[in-house]
Symmetry: C2
Subunit: 238 residues, 2 copies
């Protein structure tokens, strides 16, 4: 890339004292390596059971070096949570505000469900499972929980626009929105126990399921799936 004149075979050097364990293969920036390591450990062993030493060591660093990048364990979890909920919320907002007469609420709800499951379960480390850690209830993560509540509101808004739910009384609608949101979170748990089902297939099945759960008859589910998939395509390219 930056082939300045002079020594063409630059000694491949990195600033700073070399690592005791040698450089890491995966080529991640140190900060990203710490995030990946922490995500893996938090979701598999739990937050409290994961030590700063375990995180750092897995990222190829010594324990104390972690503090060059994060002020502590809590900051790592906060960064992970923030980074994972943001894309979901952006998409949800785009779908709720979408000025499309051609895509009904059913298709948009389908699209949100599928995209959300893909984002949450798609990565190597099932990042969505972070949302389910009990520790996230702590005061420190209130900001994240607020963003997450906004996401849930988007689910509710889309659901309210569907033909099957339009006739429901308010309390019943709320309950059904809880169930749909709960299904998506439940899917994250499926993936935790058994990483077997490929994420894309699971995402489509979950989106179909969300529509059924919302009360849509089979014909509507099929139509929403077709339109929803198309909608996702246009949103991603546009």
């Amino acid at each position: 890339m930056s082939t300045t004149a002079g020594t063409p075979a630059a000694p491949r050097g990195r600033v700073g004292r070399p690592r005791a364990r040698g450089p890491v293969a995966d080529g991640l920036a140190p900060r990203d390596g710490l995030l990946v390591a922490a995500a893996e450990l938090f979701t598999r062993q739990g937050y409290g059971a994961t030590t700063t030493r375990a995180i750092a060591e897995r990222a190829g660093l010594r324990q104390a070096s972690m503090y060059h990048y994060f002020a502590g364990k809590e900051d790592i979890l906060a960064a992970l949570l923030e980074g994972t909920v943001r894309p979901s919320l952006d998409l949800a907002r785009a779908l709720v505000a979408h000025p499309s007469a051609e895509a009904g609420a059913e298709a948009r709800l389908w699209a949100l469900c599928r995209a959300d499951v893909e984002l949450l379960c798609g990565g190597r480390h099932n990042l969505g499972a972070l949302y389910l850690l009990p520790e996230v209830a702590a005061e420190r993560f209130a900001a994240f929980r607020r963003v997450r509540a906004e996401l849930k509101a988007a689910y509710r808004a889309l659901l309210a626009g569907t033909a099957a739910a339009a006739a429901l009384p308010g309390a019943e609608l709320e309950l059904r929105a809880d169930l749909v949101f709960g299904l998506i979170e439940g899917v994250i748990l499926i993936r935790r126990q058994d990483p077997d089902p490929a994420a894309p297939a699971l995402a489509v099945a979950a989106a179909d399921g969300a529509l059924r759960l919302s009360g849509a008859p089979e014909a509507v589910v099929a139509a929403a799936a077709t339109q929803g998939a198309a909608l996702l395509g246009t949103l991603r390219t546009g």
Copy 2:
């Protein structure tokens, strides 16, 4: 389960050195008090973040006294897990084996879902949330996970007997069973964030939802709800 028989106006004396903090009001046996305290703390703060001191103190004991009843924190979690999954599994077996021509697979699936949600969310402390702790993946709790897998198999068996699922290919059936099971687990999470929805109403809504998710049309959902509720009544009295 302390015996309440014997002399009704006994001198109110208890064997053993008195507690430093005085006797507890809630009348639970010490072991049960520890279990209740641990359940509350594990589900709210997480397992790793909960110290033996916090558990004991909340139960009205000093930290070291906990070891009179449990060999350690892990044993407490094991006891809680075992105690909560057992009733669900007993009911599931009864429903799968039920020799009833009058109650179809749909009604039995509905009954299982409703009873499961009631058991998991019904108590004061949302015990079901214990299942979702990442720490449960540890080797120590393999026995519990096996029992839980059996419960999931019961869900799958009932689902396979429904009219909507009977025509599905095997992989598709498996995926749908995952979703139904995931919905029930997701409901536990709903309750964690917001203990607002009354457990009975939530249980009925979740059971209805599970039927919709399984592909049943509205008329079948309604029939299954009626028959399923009746079935639960007979199983509980008989």
